[in-house]
């Protein structure tokens, strides 16, 4: 452990730490452009020069390992002068167009020029000009501003695993570009905008929208996938202008997937801002009282068995709990939060969460993926798998046809029955798992939503039991969800008890006429044609599939418009805060259900959020521990059966459009056009 002195502070750090990291550990900040914690060290911007005693010249602290007895001065005259020189060089070719630059106000170069720059330049030659590059629908480029830190190149190559960015030419002619100016085809491409220390790469949808100091920043949780990415919602007035990631080392580190980042413009379109009632086949706007009156007329006095409720993919746990309490009060047992029909067992928590945890992926040493496509279903989690893969000694096997996952894997074919062979021990992968210290299996929704989903779940459990995935302090059985609300719904217990109908049963019942009233709480991913003649109440925020079929629409709040609790795929309870108010007459979801319960004469026993959350903690004590994962006990689950040899049908076919918000988003439509429909013939009505 080398000991050194930084600005008079003695510090002892592990060997191979760099001076910059050592300085950071004692709170000494060193300016930098190219250095980034989560990327490899480039050492090309020279902004982090420090003065080291006995060294003849200033040292680039980001790339210099600490040495025993080093005496470092980060604020000496020589260090400051060196940085001033570097800054002057950087500004030779940097256009000083801050007034028209979107990075203005949150620009590293701007900030550091304030600290180290001179008030005027000594160079009178023309600045260089660089042609802007096309990098896809979400990244805007003004390449003249680029200072060649290569953070974006390193991010694309290392973290995102799509080596499409590079620096061509050399010297003054160096340019950052994608190969032949193609779009950056990564689900994490938006992160290069955060990484860019200047305004060379900015957000295309957010271009010229706002200045950072105009925005109200609210910490929240993303609902576009089940990772539970920590986000910051930036809003001005009533409009959400952008979504940025927050750092959470155990969940998303500091990355954010493109859909989560850029679907926020969908919050402005196709909104349900007032109740609607279907009259004569047409939806007509109505008041809350009228809408409730229609529902009360239909539901009051009805047998509970004829009432059913389905909860959607992006709903908060509060609303799910309120709807469960309402259904129970009405005497109905037909409730389900698994609108995709996944064969998940709500009674055994270990059967439906990502037990190893996302951070735990980094400790694993063997991985089997069954019926999941992490790149499309959870890009941030996929980046974690890639991070582990890059460290080496991490064999990855995949059952199913998933295409490029940004890392190498051994494909075990498309036939899911291979899993039975692994469970039986006759497949070589079984031995690989047994020999590993911390093996993992990830079971995806493509496997669990099939008719034989329960059998696959049981076989996966057998693999876990037989191949040593369950050990002291390690549970290698993981379910990768695609919906942010799913684990919360299962934790609340929004599933039918014995005798009740699940999603398939509800839809069958509705088409046969056994179910009269179906309450859809933000549920849009079901086959609405199967609802038959049932009276459909849709509560949600977007005029999507559910609302099209609805007989009464109750306008709810989207995830940025309510305080909500979400449980991510690892079972981590997280709370998002309200960033803006819901539009028009729309209300927070649990309050709508609470108001309806009163009209139905079954008033729910809570009047404010604190009481709802107390009730949640009563139903499942885990809800009281925010940002914690309750370890789940390993019990029996799944129903043994035979597995059909047909390949998996993956739920996320178009990554950019999976829920009502992303389907309403124009940015996501452009991404779909660029990446999913690429090569498709354009028709006369095209753009």
């Amino acid at each position: 452990m080398p000991k050194l002195t930084i600005d008079g502070i003695a510090v002892e750090v592990p060997p191979n730490t760099t001076i910059l990291q050592a300085a950071e550990s004692v709170g000494v900040e060193i300016p930098r452009f190219c250095y980034h914690d989560r990327l490899s060290i480039a050492g090309n911007c020279r902004m982090c020069l420090v003065d080291v005693e006995k060294s003849p010249k200033p040292v680039a602290s980001c790339a210099m390992p600490v040495g025993e007895g080093m005496v470092v001065h980060t604020k000496s005259d020589r260090a400051n002068k060196a940085r001033g020189g570097v800054m002057e060089f950087l500004l030779i070719n940097h256009p000083l167009d801050c007034p028209i630059c979107d990075q203005g106000g949150e620009c590293d170069l701007q900030d550091q020029a304030m600290a180290f720059g001179a008030d005027r330049g000594r160079y009178h030659e023309n600045k260089r000009a660089v042609k802007d590059k096309y990098m896809g629908p979400v990244v805007e480029t003004v390449m003249t501003r680029c200072i060649h830190c290569t953070r974006c190149v390193r991010f694309a190559t290392e973290v995102a695993g799509v080596p499409q960015l590079g620096a061509t030419g050399r010297g003054e002619d160096m340019e950052i570009t994608t190969y032949l100016e193609g779009a950056l085809s990564s689900e994490l491409s938006g992160n290069v905008v955060d990484l860019c220390p200047v305004g060379a790469l900015t957000s295309k949808p957010y271009a010229f929208n706002a200045r950072p100091w105009e925005l109200r920043k609210t910490e929240s949780i993303d609902v576009m996938d089940a990772v539970g990415t920590n986000i910051r919602v930036d809003a001005r007035g009533r409009v959400v202008l952008r979504v940025l990631p927050r750092v959470h080392e155990d969940v998303n580190e500091e990355w954010l997937a493109d859909k989560s980042r850029h679907a926020c413009d969908g919050l402005r379109y196709q909104r349900l801002d007032q109740p609607y009632i279907r009259k004569g086949g047409k939806l007509q706007s109505a008041s809350w009282d009228e809408a409730f009156a229609v529902i009360v007329g239909k539901v009051r006095g009805m047998s509970g068995a004829k009432f059913a409720a389905i909860a959607g993919d992006t709903v908060d746990a509060e609303a799910i709990l309120a709807l469960k309490d309402l259904a129970t009060a009405l005497g109905s047992n037909n409730i389900d939060c698994r609108q995709d029909g996944a064969a998940l067992d709500a009674n055994v928590r270990a059967s439906y969460i990502f037990n190893s945890t996302i951070a735990g992926i980094e400790q694993a040493d063997a991985l089997l993926i069954v019926g999941a496509n992490p790149r499309k279903e959870a890009p941030v989690l996929n980046a974690r798998i890639r991070k582990r893969y890059l460290k080496g000694n991490f064999p990855i096997c995949v059952i199913g046809d998933v295409g490029d996952l940004t890392y190498k894997y051994e494909s075990l074919g498309a036939n899911p029955d291979v899993l039975s062979q692994i469970a039986g021990g006759s497949h070589p992968v079984a031995n690989a798992l047994k020999n590993a210290k911390k093996p993992m299996i990830i079971v995806g929704m493509a496997a669990l939503t099939r008719a034989d989903g329960a059998a696959i779940l049981a076989t996966a459990k057998a693999v876990a039991d037989n191949c040593g995935l369950i050990k002291d302090g390690w549970n290698g059985f993981n379910v990768l969800h695609t919906a942010a609300a799913r684990v919360g719904g299962l934790d609340v217990g929004f599933v039918p008890n014995a005798g009740g109908k699940d999603t398939r049963g509800i839809l069958d019942g509705a088409s046969k006429g056994e179910i009269d009233v179906v309450y859809l709480l933000g549920a849009d991913e079901i086959d609405t044609a199967k609802l038959g003649k049932a009276f459909v109440i849709y509560q949600g925020h977007h005029g999507d599939r559910g609302a099209h079929r609805a007989d009464v629409i109750l306008p709810g709040a989207a995830y940025t418009e309510k305080d909500g609790t979400y449980v991510n795929t690892e079972g981590r309870v997280q709370r998002g805060l309200r960033a803006v108010f819901p539009p028009g007459d729309a209300r927070e979801d649990w309050t709508i259900i609470r108001a309806l319960s009163e009209k139905l004469g079954k008033t729910l026993p809570y009047d404010n959020l604190a009481q709802v959350r107390a009730r949640m903690a009563f139903v499942n004590p885990g809800f009281a521990a925010v940002d914690k994962i309750q370890p789940a006990a390993w019990k029996a689950f799944g129903i043994a059966g035979s597995i059909s040899p047909t390949g998996f049908d993956y739920p996320v076919k178009n990554y950019y459009m999976t829920d009502p918000i992303s389907r309403a988003s124009r940015t996501m439509a452009q991404c779909t056009e660029e990446f999913v429909l690429a090569g498709q013939q354009k028709t006369g009505t095209h753009g």
Partner: protein, 230 residues
């Protein structure tokens, strides 16, 4: 030097000839497994030797052979000015215009080339036989001015000798590479002007006294060793 990018018009495909492929495989085999990307520069060179210039399909083919991302190969190809990213003439004439050559009259050489070939810098003659380019310091300053044609340097050129050289190439000949004034490598041009006097032999010394003293000491030592111990 201007921004280097791929030419607009590109051939549809590229494949190494069997002879070139054999050479490429030999080069790749020099590097340990998993490090075959190290062969990217020689392979780009082979592609350029085969086609005359580095084409986009060649970049993609090399990327495939070496399991690299195409952008990584493009980075290398655009970095080194020795790779021609657009078609060049059969005789590619590169004139060094860096400081030493310029001081020794490279402007006149440029003028000769332009006049003789009827094309400007960075251009190719309509018949595709000649092309002209500027070369940054060719590293042969001692023989300035220098022009590079193909792989060969022609040194000590001036307006007249450049014209003669190009005429020879036009006739389809390949003049002998090196100094056109006939000097040997970078030896002084013309007569040597230093170290011209006869070298002085070392001063004569008489070593006989020293030799006699040495012999005497040797004999005494031998006698001492042979005498019986007292």
């Amino acid at each position: 030097m201007s921004t280097r990018s791929l030419a607009k018009e590109q051939p549809a495909s590229f494949a190494f000839s069997s002879e070139m492929m054999e050479r490429a495989n030999k080069i790749i085999a020099k590097y340990p497994a998993g490090r075959q990307a190290s062969a990217v520069i020689p392979l780009l060179d082979l592609a350029q030797r085969q086609e005359g210039w580095v084409t986009k399909p060649a970049i993609e083919e090399i990327a495939k052979i070496l399991s690299m991302a195409p952008i990584r190969v493009l980075e290398v190809a655009t970095f080194y000015t020795m790779f021609n990213l657009s078609p060049v003439g059969k005789t590619h004439v590169q004139i060094c215009t860096s400081l030493s050559c310029w001081l020794r009259g490279s402007n006149e050489v440029v003028k000769a080339c332009k006049e003789k070939l009827g094309i400007g810098m960075g251009e190719r003659s309509p018949d595709g036989k000649f092309s002209l380019a500027e070369l940054e310091c060719s590293g042969a300053c001692v023989n300035a001015p220098v022009i590079q044609i193909g792989d060969d340097y022609y040194e000590d050129v001036d307006y007249a000798s450049t014209g003669k050289l190009l005429d020879a190439f036009k006739r389809g000949e390949t003049p002998k590479a090196g100094s056109v004034t006939g000097r040997d490598g970078s030896a002084p041009a013309g007569e040597a002007i230093t170290l011209s006097e006869k070298p002085t032999p070392p001063a004569k010394q008489d070593f006989s006294a020293a030799k006699a003293a040495f012999e005497k000491a040797k004999a005494e030592a031998a006698a001492k060793a042979a005498a019986p111990k007292a």
